[in-house]
């Protein structure tokens, strides 16, 4: 209960700061939109190849946009030595991890809510009825991205070239999540049946639980190192 209370206050602080500065959300939104336009001019997706190409392109946009958000995730704590102020106190370090994961997830979902329909419009895709199912698959993938990304954002927090280092460490470890999400979305695209993608979704859920548990357990060592 104490952990949840601390998580709530840290999340409250992050949301308040973001609401006032709007740095991360605006950067992520414009970058995500820009990527879609670049894809739009670079690729042409015929209707019969949509299932093959759309999930990969969408996930490329999400991963690059999410990485941009991850590099800014601890910015408030870097300023004015605020991370020290948090670590000085008795609070559970896992609370900071959960708050950062929740905040990052919130930002990513906001961006995805915009990027998904825009992708459909730009590539003139027909399957609007599949959007909720695809969004559900993407949600599980996004959770995986956030739990792992937040942990490695903390790992690279004190590194000199953290913006370069973070994707180099994160992307190889993200392969299982990316693979399961893209395959799951592709199946939903191809068959129109959410149930068909369930084996991949179970795998994705497993990754999410494993990465979240690992992050929860090791975050204290990572952040205090």
């Amino acid at each position: 209960m104490e952990l949840l209370r601390q998580t709530f206050w840290l999340l409250w602080k992050d949301l308040l700061l973001e609401l006032r500065r709007r740095e991360s959300i605006l950067a992520m939104f414009f970058f995500g939109t820009l990527l879609l336009f670049v894809f739009h001019f670079a690729f042409e997706i015929p209707a019969e190849r949509a299932a093959e190409m759309a999930p990969g392109l969408l996930w490329l946009a999400f991963i690059f946009t999410g990485t941009l958000g991850l590099t800014q995730l601890f910015q408030a704590e870097r300023e004015n030595h605020c991370l020290e102020a948090l670590l000085l106190g008795p609070m559970d370090r896992a609370g900071l991890y959960l708050a950062k994961v929740s905040f990052n997830l919130f930002l990513m979902l906001l961006v995805e809510l915009t990027v998904f329909p825009l992708f459909w419009v730009l590539f003139n895709l027909a399957f609007w009825e599949l959007l909720p199912s695809l969004f559900l698959v993407a949600l599980l993938g996004t959770i995986g991205f956030c739990v792992l990304g937040t942990l490695f954002s903390a790992v690279t927090l004190k590194a000199r070239a953290r913006e370069l280092l973070l994707p180099l460490i994160l992307f190889p470890l993200m392969i299982p999540v990316i693979l399961a999400t893209v395959r799951g979305m592709e199946i939903v695209f191809r068959t129109g049946q959410f149930e068909e993608a369930l084996p991949w979704l179970r795998l994705l859920l497993g990754f999410d639980v494993i990465f979240l548990t690992a992050g929860f357990l090791v975050f204290e060592w990572v952040i205090e190192a």
């Binding site: 104490e2 601390q6 206050w9 700061l17 300023e79 004015n80 000085l88 008795p90």
Partner: protein
């Protein structure tokens, strides 16, 4: 409250910032931590606040070993560094509210207003911290620790940014803390001020503790060590 430091050493790579420090801090003591730049004062404060791992040695607070990670003993430690440890994008009141919640202190909004009033910042309580001057930020930090009530207060060069009334405010807070059984350890170069306040002095030189004595009048041994080890510029305050 009792703090025991045993064989404490800290190295940064090949550089030893602190070498085998053994001290015991007792309830009610106000300790002056002195030494030239690079003597290891800030390192010692950061070790006492568990923000740094010692390379060797241990620290015990009321018999409990101080280690990194979340621990209840941490709620009794405060580190006052002027102008730091505050979220610039939050208001004064929001900062106090956040830390009050994270420390699980059951202080009301009224208590927060009172803490701000004590340090003379009540009329700025809805302003962002970024709009405050360094001195005002230091006052806000004082109000934060007034609210969080640590028993061991570590102060790193607090005098630099405070005006006269700010210094009085800080010193009366430190005196009250020590009178109520707390411990204050202040690292500073303002020798005359801290000598008037402290009950004991520690002098560090190149990471070693070279002087540790309770205050006495006259304090010949202190002045001898001070003259020998502390660099003295033409306008050095004493």
């Amino acid at each position: 409250m009792r703090v025991v430091v045993r064989s404490l050493s800290k190295s940064y790579g090949f550089l030893w910032a602190l070498k085998k420090i053994d001290i015991e801090l007792r309830a009610g003591e106000c300790i002056a931590l002195l030494g030239p730049n690079g003597a290891g004062k800030s390192t010692l404060l950061r070790l006492l606040s568990a923000l740094l791992h010692p390379t060797t040695g241990e620290i015990f607070i009321d018999g409990q070993r101080l280690s990194q990670g979340s621990s209840p003993v941490r709620s009794s430690i405060g580190l006052l560094t002027p102008s730091e440890h505050l979220y610039e994008g939050l208001t004064l009141r929001e900062n106090l509210r956040l830390f009050n919640s994270l420390y699980a202190r059951k202080k009301s909004l009224q208590d927060m207003e009172e803490a701000l009033n004590t340090v003379g910042l009540r009329r700025w309580s809805d302003d962002y911290v970024s709009s405050l001057s360094s001195g005002m930020k230091c006052r806000l930090t004082i109000s934060k620790w007034l609210l969080l009530e640590p028993k061991l207060l570590l102060l790193d060069e607090p005098y630099g940014v405070l005006d006269g009334s700010g210094v009085d405010l800080l010193e009366s807070y430190v005196k009250r803390l020590c009178q109520s059984g707390g411990i204050a350890v202040m690292a500073t170069h303002h020798i005359s001020r801290i000598l008037a306040l402290c009950s004991r002095a520690l002098i560090l030189h190149q990471g070693r503790l070279i002087f540790d004595e309770p205050r006495q009048e006259p304090w010949e041994s202190f002045h001898r060590t001070f003259a020998e080890f502390l660099p003295r510029g033409d306008k050095w305050s004493s």
